[in-house]
Amino acid sequence: MTHKTIQVTPSRCIGCLNCELACASRDWGQYFPAGSKINLVFFKDGGQVPVTCFQCDEAPCLKVCQTGALARNELTGVIASDPDRCVGCRTCVSVCPFGNINYSKAGRRVEKCDQCQGQPRCAAACPSGALTFVDDAKLVQARRRAYAESLKSVASTEGPK
């Protein structure tokens, strides 16, 4: 099975928050920002970018979790969280370098993107093609580098206002 990835094209994002809404609604039946596993970062100097888990190859969160609450599906490469196994120590939250895992006090569990088990609602809800779910033959590391490059080129060609 090919790994798939949620590809972000920042220049296409219109900041509508539909992705956050779709994500939070899945588990909570309603929208509130902390319930979403994809987050829009708004820049004060203009523009925004949706960010979510990179499903890192060397995932720090996965390394620290001792309860099996975080586990990688070897077929898809996706790291999902099992709320029943989570004891809420929040070590994973502390170690994620990208701030892409959050702990929900209300839900007593960590909030982490699992790509909706193969049907990411955020990508489906994105009206502008800023989020697309695409095949990813490359390694995650290479994927992240490419993503960084795409962001840089966007920044230089279009630039923030």
Partner: protein, 250 residues
């Protein structure tokens, strides 16, 4: 054949199961859609067999299903036999005398037709001595608390019955406690009679965690998760570090 080597078969309440060798009886029952009541079982923590609520009958004996690994074929397990029901009622009675107001135990008491034992009323502090908190603490990388003492004297405590010096204030123990016995506060942070500092995010000032829990995670002075997202997004976009606005704080 590999099937015969790796699987074990038997029945639970007359229904056949075939599960990998070593599967606990509790998991096997769950796979058949049967519920066995549990209190001290947590899927993320090693089983301890402490509360005895999950007792079932096999071969004329009672075993704790959360602990019992299925290894031999042909086990005929009963989860509702008279022996099981009687033992469970007794267990609920004992547990209830520890936590007489716990809604879940009261519900179980109704179900099994029992109530608290008035002779044991003096140990009724709300703690079941189930040890889930101790196991959660250990799994999180700390051994701050332990179950100490015997019989009615047994309790969860730090060393020398003092507030636990090794506690990092992560609150995992309180989150798994089935009765809510452990007093804690998230903001300001306190638990087990100790007050903790909260390290502020160097960028936005919101509290990130106690210095002790951050050190345990191997990070000294991190940004809060939302400033981490901002920071790497800005650098990826080639923007200078700057303050930001997010719709709704995260």
């Amino acid at each position: 054949m590999s099937q015969a080597i790796t699987k074990v078969t038997g029945t639970i309440d007359g229904r056949g199961f075939s599960v990998p060798i070593g599967t606990t009886l509790l998991e096997a029952a769950k796979s058949l859609g049967l519920t066995i009541p549990t209190l001290c079982h947590h899927p993320g923590l090693p089983a301890d067999g402490n509360c005895r609520l999950c007792l079932v009958e096999t071969g004329g004996k009672l075993v704790a299903s959360c602990l019992f690994p299925l290894r031999t074929d042909g086990e005929a397990i009963l989860t509702q036999s008279p022996m099981v029901l009687e033992a469970r009622a007794f267990t609920v009675r004992l547990l209830l005398s520890r936590a007489p107001e716990d809604p879940r135990l009261l519900e179980l008491a109704r179900e099994y037709g029992t109530g608290p034992d008035p002779r044991l009323a003096d140990g009724a502090d709300g703690c079941l001595r189930c040890g889930l908190c101790v196991r959660a603490c250990r799994a999180s990388g700390t051994e701050a608390i332990a179950l100490v003492g015997r019989g009615r004297e047994r309790k969860v405590t730090g060393p020398f019955f003092e507030p636990p010096i090794d506690c990092v204030g992560c609150l995992a123990c309180a989150r798994v406690c089935p009765t809510g016995f452990i007093d804690f506060s998230e903001l300001p942070r306190s638990i087990w009679g100790r007050d903790f500092d909260l390290r502020p995010c160097p960028q936005c000032g919101r509290p990130v965690g106690t210095p002790e829990e951050l050190r345990r995670a191997g990070v000294e002075n991190p940004l809060c998760p939302s400033c981490r997202r901002l920071s790497y997004s800005r650098s990826l976009m080639g923007l200078p570090e700057a303050s930001f606005s997010n719709p709704g704080e995260r």
